[in-house]
Amino acid sequence: MRKRILPGFGLSLGYTMICLGFIVLLPLAALAWKASGVGIMGLLQLLDAPRARAALMLSFGGAFAAALINTVAGFLVAWVLVRYRFPGRRVLDALVDLPFALPTAVAGIALTALYAPNGWLGQPLFDHGIRVAYTRLGVGVAMVFVGFPFVVRTVQPVLAALDREIEEAAESLGARRWQSFLRVILPLMLPAILTGFALALARAVGEYGSVIFIAGNLPMQSEIAPLLIVQKLEEFDYAGASALGAVMLVFAFAILLVLALLQRWSRRWAELPA
């Protein structure tokens, strides 16, 4: 092997591999092994059970809807934070990360208290016949909460780095404001927006702590997949838990792949290497 100039290659890579091996790879292998133990047919059967199907549908469907809402709201907030100057902007900017900083259990009970039929928001909504807490809607609200920072934080730096001259060029060429937004800004932002969407989606699919309090957790109704895994574990149904876990793990890998592809896609405008 060629001599390395800087020291510590073996030590640092070795430690990294050992940590990853013991903390990530070995346990994940245990999951894969357990899930494969039931066989493909068994796996499909477990997943096709009505309760499992309903839980997966809710987790993925709810996460998708929440990620969509977060994409729109997140882009709006990023836009406002980057483009406009107003009192309190810095505080607002800092608070974007609140869902990262607030433990999920805390967020969960707070959202529940807020949206319960006797809560600050739950009361007026209930009077109009809308129930949030202990329904699927509540699941969605919690998923919006946890996924919110992702779109803002991926779009914000790209938007800030966007050269204002590009818009001015578009307008000097005769484009209206909305045309320069739709034809120039949005396409340039698309990789960042999709990246934010994918991250928010991944987070919401796997979310547990903030959802279980507000969801009410009625099987077939408002029970999410991670909770069903916990339920199965408590019933010592390891195979069932592993099967659900494997599905969610495959989804996590798929998201990682999509993110890597998005990264490459966003570099297609990059300068060619010298």
Partner: protein, 386 residues
């Protein structure tokens, strides 16, 4: 320190950054490694510093193998292109770094370190700035901090990677004269990498011109400029007009210009002549019997003391550039649009296909008087003066 580099080869992902490079450097010499980007000059410097390793070849320092010595123990002072100053340390701490990290047996005492730092800062004209941080200095000052830091470890050899590349033009000129003065004062073997020919010509004792990982010519600045050893050196150093010659009934010719009998046998039937702009003779008289090519003067670009003339030569189907002193313009009566005759006064001519054995020579043509054949790259001697 005497450095002997033999057959040095370094491959990067299939392409050769260095190919069989030979070079010897005498003690106290100031040598420039000159070449375009990607010519391998920085790779060579990094190998000398111990930051890269060759795939083949050897380097001897005073007869000892240098490659087996780690970068840490090589006693080499290296000034990085972007200086690589430690941004979290003050100027004085940067300079002292190399002394402070020594093994305690050889580490000087606190007082001695700070005394040496003081002396060095004075030498690089930064006395009083020791407590500043690198970010608080100008580009030229940072450069000198990097130099002081490299000198602090009392290196046997000083390496500089594009030392003036990041500076603006004015600072660059004054700093390089200062560096030359410092070199004369210290007498330290110094190698610097540059892509700026002016810098190399002005500063160094010898220039090693590199291209695509090979040494094209290693010579004094005068000889590199006036006696280029290869077509690449002709084109890279200064500017040169390139004229194609082909063998006719009466020897090589480019339209009306016939330089005379060529030093090569019949196997060479085409050649390329390089003529520097100042080596083109201009004749505006309309009298009969003028020599050279008929040309039309398209433009006069006045560049301070020199004027560049753009000439259209129909017989060659190309443009030539000629330089005259600005003050000669009225005397010669030059005007854009006029026709005149041009002929080379001096040229360096290479065979157009250099693959044949025996043709690896260049033909230094000095007007009508005499022409000397000089071996290219000093590999093969062809006898006779023509």
């Amino acid at each position: 320190m005497t450095l002997e580099i033999r057959g040095l080869t370094r491959k990067f992902a299939g392409c050769n950054a260095l190919e069989e490079v030979d070079l010897s450097i005498a003690p106290g010499e100031f040598l420039a490694l000159l070449g375009p980007s990607g010519s391998g000059k920085t790779t060579l410097l990094r190998i000398l510093a111990g930051l890269d390793f060759p795939d083949g070849g050897e380097i001897k320092a005073n007869g000892r193998d240098l490659l087996s010595v780690s970068a840490r123990d090589r006693k080499v002072g290296l000034v990085f292109q972007h200086y690589a100053l430690f941004r979290h340390l003050t100027v004085a701490e940067n300079v002292a770094f190399g002394l402070r990290v020594r093994r305690w047996r050889t580490r000087p005492g606190r007082a001695e370190i700070s005394a040496r730092v003081e002396t060095l800062l004075e030498r690089v004209q930064l006395a009083g700035l020791g407590s500043r941080y690198p970010a608080q200095l100008s580009g030229g000052q940072r450069q000198r901090v990097a130099l002081a830091r490299a000198l602090a470890v009392e290196p046997d050899i000083l390496l500089l990677d594009e030392p003036f590349g990041a500076l603006d033009a004015k600072v660059r000129v004054s700093l390089r004269r200062w560096l030359r003065g410092l070199h004369e004062e210290l007498g330290l073997t110094t190698i610097f990498v540059t892509h700026d020919q002016e810098e190399a010509l002005e500063l160094s004792d010898r220039i090693a011109v590199m291209n695509r990982g090979r040494m094209e010519q290693v010579d004094t600045p005068e000889r590199v400029y006036h006696d280029a050893a290869s077509p690449f050196v002709c084109e890279f150093i200064g500017s040169a007009n390139r004229v194609n010659l082909s063998r006719g009934a009466r020897g090589f010719a480019a339209a009306e210009w016939m330089p005379g009998p060529a030093p090569w046998g019949d196997e060479v039937d085409r050649a390329i002549a390089y003529v520097r702009p100042q080596h083109l003779a201009l004749d505006v008289s309309s009298a009969a019997g003028q020599r050279g090519w008929l040309a039309q003067l398209r433009h006069i670009y006045l560049a301070g003391s020199v004027a560049h003339l753009e000439l259209d030569v129909p017989a060659l189907k190309q443009q030539l550039e000629a330089d005259v002193a600005s003050e000669d313009l009225p005397r010669l009566g030059l005007r854009a649009g006029m026709t005149l005759h041009v002929s080379p006064k001096r040229a360096i001519i290479f065979p157009a296909s250099g693959s044949e054995p025996g043709a690896e020579t260049r033909w230094v043509w000095n007007g009508e008087r005499a022409a000397a054949v000089v071996p290219a790259r000093g590999e093969r001697v062809v006898n006779g003066i023509f």
